[in-house]
Amino acid sequence: MSETTVALVTGASRGIGQAASLALARAGLPVAIGYRSDREGAEVAAAKARAEGVQALAVLLDVKEEASINEAFTRIEGELGSVQVLVNNAGFTKDGLAVKYPTETWDSTIDTNLKGAFLCTRRALPRMMRARWGRIVNVASVAALRGNAGQAAYAASKAGLVGMTRALAREVGGRGITVNAVCPGFVDTRMTEATRQELRARYIELTPAGRFGTPEEVAAVIAFLAGPETSYVNGAVIAVDGGLSA
């Protein structure tokens, strides 16, 4: 691993992304905090990361836009160093029954959750290959493993991410690069905030842990997969869901 190893977490202004950035900072990695709209949240995350004693940078990165990805990576490479740990976390969801689901919403779900992760990965890989070291962690979802009514687009995007994880693990596994996925269950974040109370109660009932998870509980697994010791875990899909998919 080179000295300039930097972690980039997309969608890191809040929730699981922010928690993952902080976990990586705690592990001593300089972190780039990717954000699309919540600059303030990203700056707060960066300040928290700096408090852990590492360099941190909030960087505008819309994973739906190739130009934005390129700009962000170039800036990170200039100011922090080479992105050798990539956490594809930026995600979008809008529930709705299939018969009434707008095409545009389907497209933006796939574009953010699946294509965005691919584009960031493609931009990051050459340097990882050259360094013969890299860690890619894709934040999928329990929705990739068990279906939820009203989540056809979200489930498809996340299942796609799992497939991509496995294919890439085989493609670059010989280069000291690992590609793994975590599948969070119900976690208390902005994304699940809108969940109706009765639905929330039902989710808790379905989860052996008997509660929603915290972003930190997911971040711990992301940091584990991003660490130097996890060199023999590749193409793994790890549920972090309080037992929901068990």
């Binding site: 050459p126 290959m129 050259r130 493609e171 670059v172 010989g174 280069r175």
Partner: protein, 83 residues
């Protein structure tokens, strides 16, 4: 840059990237059979060539490249270096 110079440079970069001794990399060397390079090795080598020479080599142009000589020719064409 003339062709001989370009050839030396390309061979050097390829040797470096494919981790083979430089004297093994000749225009008639075949990537797969002689240099033991798989498709990902080739992509890596092309990335290095792109960076060194400031050119872009799209995937469809890489497809026909089986020998070191073809790679040199590809870069030469991009740079406008005559044989």
């Amino acid at each position: 840059m003339d062709m001989a110079e370009l050839q030396d440079k390309v061979c050097g970069i390829l040797a470096d990237n494919l981790s083979v001794p430089e004297d093994k990399v000749k225009p008639d060397s075949r990537f797969q059979e002689d240099l033991d390079a798989d498709s990902l090795d080739l992509v890596e080598a092309v990335l290095a060539l792109e960076e060194e020479f400031g050119v872009t080599i799209p995937e469809e142009e890489m497809e026909g490249v089986k020998t070191v000589g073809q790679a040199i020719q590809l870069v030469a064409t991009k740079l406008g270096v005559a044989a």
